[in-house]
Amino acid sequence: MLNRTAENVARATPEPLARKVRGISDKGLAWLFISPTILLLLAINIFPLFWAIYLSFTNFRANRPNEVVKNLGFANYQRILADQDIWIAMQTTAHFVFWTILLQTLIGFTLAWLIDRKFRGHAFWTTIILVPMMLSPAVVGNFWRFLYEPQIGLFAYAISFITRIPPTDIQMLSNVSLAPWSIIIVDTWMWTPYVMLICLAGLRSIPEYIYEAAEVDRASNWRQFWSITLPMALPFIMLAVLFRGIENFKMFDMVNLLTGGGPGSTTEVASITLKRQAFESWRTGYSSAFAIILFVAVFGLANIYVKALNKVKQR
């Protein structure tokens, strides 16, 4: 009886695929399957990176492809790192990144914490909150341009209703001190749901028995939050900050649509300067060097972050 069962199992077990495809080992077959992906990755990610590194040492201009390309050594890097305008663009970028991440993390985590309470209709509100994230940045940019209009915009009217300042005086996009904040508001509005979603995943992963044990020990809600909720959701919050940090360093679409870097250069972030150098001044070599500097900054930051994340996870 036992022998017959073993025979049936052996008969039902499929023979290795490699044996069917003659002459190819299991390892060879695995390589065959992943090679298209690797080739695609090399073609669209790795090759452009190395090509940009090569161009960053030259005076290549994309609008003059037939011109002789001269090797400039580190001259492009030296020029960028001594340029006051680019230094200011870096500070503007840091300002955006700091405030957007701070606001998105605070609001996103608070929303996640509230949604996690499982009140009546929480699924409906989760869907409503997620809507901005699903829209295209081009749509969001144009939509907020109308909202910020001092004559017809709803935003100006809402602020005027609260502060009693006439709506025509609330010029969000053309006022030097308000323009950076107008972009921070839109980015926060659009991407807070993303942070909320990651934080919600973190909060849902906390086992219920830990709270039950804390209840038995008569820990207050405040104590439970600081000793259980926050430490256990921290890796997820850090992951959200990492993703948003990397994205916001490259923030281009929203700034380009809302202010185009203006008024003056108050909202000119690094990516806008990069685009101007690359596609308006056609200094391809110079802009490649600038892109490499930004890449190293983001890559370095990601390294630190992954190390910190591993440390938090090991606790």
Partner: protein, 68 residues
């Protein structure tokens, strides 16, 4: 006492060049370079930010392969 306990071999790798310490040094370099790149106080610090950050990043990639 069990006779099958694994014998711990003393690593010949110098103590100062262990991964933990060197990774911390590399991380500190990256963080300093990053702050130098985005600070609004001195242009000279901005000028040397990239080389500091690059040194830190390259060092991090290398030392993360070192033994613990």
């Amino acid at each position: 006492m069990s006779l099958n306990q694994p014998i711990k071999r003393k690593s010949r790798w110098p103590r100062w060049a262990r991964r933990g310490l060197m990774e911390n040094v590399a991380t500190a370099l990256i963080a300093i370079g990053f702050l130098m790149l985005f600070q609004p106080f001195a242009l000279a610090l901005y000028t040397y930010s990239f080389i500091t950050m690059l040194a830190g990043t390259v060092m991090f990639i290398i030392v993360s392969k070192f033994p613990e």
